[in-house]
Symmetry: C2
Subunit: 315 residues, 2 copies
Amino acid sequence: MNFQQLRSVREAVRCGFNLTEVAQALHTSQPGVSRQIRELEQELGIEIFVRQGKRLTGLTAPGRALLPVVERLLTEAQNLHRIGEDFSKGDVGTLSIAATHSQARYALPAVVRDFQARHPGVSLKLHQGSPQQIAQMLVSGEADIGIATQALAEQDPLVALSCYRWTHSVVVPPEHELLQGPLTLQRLAAYPLITYDVGYTGRGTIDDAFHRAGLNMQLVLSAMDADVIKTYVGLGMGVGIVASIAFDEERDQPLRAIDARHLFAINTTSIGLRRGALLRAYAYDFIQSFAPHLKPEIVMQAQATRASAAEPAPL
Amino acid sequence: MNFQQLRSVREAVRCGFNLTEVAQALHTSQPGVSRQIRELEQELGIEIFVRQGKRLTGLTAPGRALLPVVERLLTEAQNLHRIGEDFSKGDVGTLSIAATHSQARYALPAVVRDFQARHPGVSLKLHQGSPQQIAQMLVSGEADIGIATQALAEQDPLVALSCYRWTHSVVVPPEHELLQGPLTLQRLAAYPLITYDVGYTGRGTIDDAFHRAGLNMQLVLSAMDADVIKTYVGLGMGVGIVASIAFDEERDQPLRAIDARHLFAINTTSIGLRRGALLRAYAYDFIQSFAPHLKPEIVMQAQATRASAAEPAPL
DNA sequence: TATCCTTACGGAATTCGTAAGCATG
DNA sequence: CATGCTTACGAATTCCGTAAGGATA
């Protein structure tokens, strides 16, 4: 048994059982991959993949039992390298962060600037994507740290750790009628609305609030980020609903914001990590700088827990 | 990186950093082992072992951080083979159980008999030893399942699961004075006593009880097992204190037993397992047959937890 | 017929054990 | 001076990629 065999198996699952694709991903030849898999199957005395004729089409029962162990083996192998780098390279390396636009634009800049000052040798890679894409990047190992408001705890191999809570604000042009008197869902529903796309930045809690109040939203435009939303509010196309953190009185002149925390449920921004995947020391420092209560030991402890669903019992 | 390198590192620690011994244990040449270790160190960019001149004398800081990961890798590799065997061999294989004499002699026979009937293809190996030896056999992988009343949860790599509770009985020759009137520690202390060796079968709770009552035991003989104890009680050398389960009214004629559950603390017999080490399906069946409340999923869940002491933080 | 996996084969790289060298207690 | 690790070297094995073969949608 060797790691190349394990990599072949993992990649075969990820590539939808197309060994040609696996070979490209692993920078090797297709017959090589085929061999690796067959040799592992032979050594273990089982068939890992279902074969229809010569094509692989899925995992067998033994294969399903095997897969989580294979994933753990490869994760631990990477952990060894991470430990090696932590001691040999110290504060030099790469940190890959995947975040939604909201986080990257409003929550991260201060943290990133401080981090760069403390760890000048670390090259930061900031990826942007939907919460689903972020989760996918974590699972595949493309990203070390994911930051989003939802969907990070939905996959078994991931853990989510709560960082901070926030609420929405309503954004309107200056001297808008909504600036007079108390803000209610009823009044809001009377205007054309501009807010986040479904799946982004607490859009769920907005929909929920209107739905529960029995009101229909007149959504004229939805966008992935607050900057776009504010731009169209500035054009007079409607009333915006954005994360409070995304509005700055000075920068966003001449728009005005109205606190809407009483209208929509509180949102929680979380950090997502891969279970069992040790991070470089500076990554734990980054996390603590983003959420001071997440001390390295606490984060490691959370990562060390295994998904609650027990491994499928063999046989 | 390959598994032979990892095995060399693990074995080097186990063999007290003597690579000659490691080579014997791994059935290979000494220069081979030396090379494996140096190549791994080179790949990871760190020194794993402290070298005084040419000799290895201990682990470096990176080595200490590495070791638990190496152990997990080798455990998971074995898990792969176990899964393979579970599917390919089914109910054929080996089960290695380490137990104290008390367990092997009194608690296990019925379970073992039933197990053999249910799994005729499984070759059972029953090892006997002190709780410390049992723990050691579990850690080294010599034994799959350990059964003892103490010391199984004292090592990080092990989990202990409570199986059943039991108390002691006092064993006396027929028509002994202690058979008259209520049994008390005070009365017991007046006789020469015969019981288990320190570290065996609840001896601790016996010492505790006398100590707390401010009484001195007149210990004339201590032994590892109840059979020896009962033999000397039969010779009139003293009064015996044994686990209640170890006395059978018929078999142990003409001796008499007096229930002593009110004198000594309750003992708990536990099963000990290696964390993260998947067992063959029949092993989980054995456990459930020994302790019906320990269903396979519960046992697996317990094994999946990692030792509470977090990994030493790198750097 | 195009895609995709397997088999076959030959060259290259790796691996491993033996033998010799050298430092240390 | 015996023990224990390293270096050197040559043989054997393993590994891997190319090329050809065959099955399936």
